[in-house]
Amino acid sequence: MEWEAVIGLEIHSQLKTKSKIFSGASTAYGAEPNTQACVVDLGLPGVLPVLNGEVVRMATKFGVAIGATVAQRSIFARKNYFYPDLPKGYQISQYALPIVTHGHVEIELEEGATKTIGVTRAHLEEDAGKSLHEDFHGMTGIDLNRAGTPLLEIVSEPDMRSAKEAVAYMKKIHSLVQYLEICDGNMQEGSFRCDANVSVRPIGQSELGTRTELKNINSFRFVERAINYEIERQIDVLEGGGQIVQETRLYDADNNETRPLRSKEEAMDYRYFPDPDLLPVELDAAFIEDVRQQLPELPEAKKARFVEQYGLSVYDAGVLTASRDMADYYEAVVVASSGEAKLAANWVMGDLTGALNKEGLDITASPMTAEQLGLMIERIGDNTISGKIAKKVFEAMWAGEGDADLIIESKGLKQVTDTGAIEHVIDDVLANNASQVEQYRAGKEKLFGFFVGQVMKITQGKANPAQVNDILKKKLQS
């Protein structure tokens, strides 16, 4: 039988506020345990939550960016369950009336096709603390610094049909929240987390199969692997005559498998009800419109502009606008290079990205500034150096030997553009390789590269390649 997978994602995105969603405690990552957990976060008796206005503005930003409805009235509710890292015994979340509903994003599939993925809702809630299960004399340690950190939970429609589509969607949301500057997107620190709902059904069947939920998958790679594993597992169970049990499963990256979470044997019953400590959140149309007006340029628009303004291919524009940091860096390189947009694209996506990846650095941590790279590219553009020599200059700059001009000067890498000098070298090469010249003229045209190579060898790569080609062609034809 042919099977089809149906996937929906729930993404938890920590909002980049200074203080918590309902208290004035800091949200900074990495502090000493429990030093950023105040009376409200601890759920001590007699305290009241007060909503952080910035959280509302950030959720609104996300809503307008995905073409969603931003609710003019939304309600906070209590989601009741007991776990030690949730001190109140309930999580303040949104249930019946979330702040954002009915949005959508476009994802890109292979071969340039696109697909629209629906976003059912995005609601505000508080994060829980962390449980540390290392051995504290047979006890569990609780750090409540994260308790009360604002989260935007973004729930997609079950619109994805493969692990690849799920990853493309997750990357899209990841890029978007960073463009909007509402989340730092740091997956190692847990700022951006994902649960996946996965089911399979025979192709052509309209009703959905029983789904399982995969919890807390914290990298793009693991999302793809976990979903693929789970699809295979479900198909195996069904083809073996079994049934899928609706349950929560954990992905084990070490063994590349998913396994059930024992505690969910009994169905969860969260008994949601409106939180009496919080009043309805009311937003007027003018506020929402104001947020819309202040939206930054979004990835789609930026990509289209890069194609238009810089003459880049759609693919290159997509790579360069995948993150806002990358796009900003690229544009700064273009400016510094006096407008060498295509060369800049090649260098940023090629040598620079390669060097960064090799050292595991993010573009924001690049030791080479956009201005330094731009100035080097300007030297290619004005024919001071060739592209090939530029690789040497780049390496020296990366090694911290100084700016491009200094390196070109001190290493004598300046390109030879003097036609007379180049002709002289070419004459020598042709004279010393008479038999190859004969073969070339007899039709063995691929020897052209050999002559170019000889000229470059003698000039140590410094001869202007275009001039070498021109002159060589003329001489060989004569």
Binding site: T17, K18, S19, S23, G24, A25, S26, E32, P33, N34, T35, Q36, A37, C38, V39, L42, L44, V50, L51, N52, G53, E54, V55, V56, I75, N80, F82, Y83, P84, A96, L97, S131, L132, H133, F136, G138, M139, T140, G141, I142, D143, L144, L261, R262, S263, D269, R271, P274, P276, L278, L279, P280, V281, E282
Partner: protein, 95 residues
């Protein structure tokens, strides 16, 4: 509407309340009475009435995003049953 013994046990478990076996019939009766009252309320035609989220006719006040709290861990932990290395210790939970 009348709640069964199992319903009462489930509700007590969800609320993590320890109840005595012999009290269950009384709880079942009391809770059923509450549900009966709700049944009476349901007889009212409430079509077109927006569900109430809060008895106060007001909307949520927002605070500005500023850190106003300082570290008071040692005070809070002085009343905790058990702490170590800045952590609150609780009976082992493994999920």
């Amino acid at each position: 509407m009348s709640l069964s013994r199992e319903d009462v046990e489930k509700i007590a478990h969800l609320a993590r309340l320890a109840i005595r076996e012999e009290d269950i019939p009384k709880y079942a009766q009391d809770l059923s009475n509450i549900l009966d009252l709700v049944e009476q309320l349901k007889a009212v035609d409430s079509d077109g009435v927006e569900p109430m989220a809060h008895p106060l006719e007001s909307s949520q006040r927002l605070r500005s995003d500023e850190v106003t709290e300082t570290d008071e861990r040692s005070r809070f932990q002085s009343v905790a049953p058990k702490t170590e290395a800045g952590l609150y210790l609780v009976p082992k939970v493994i999920e």
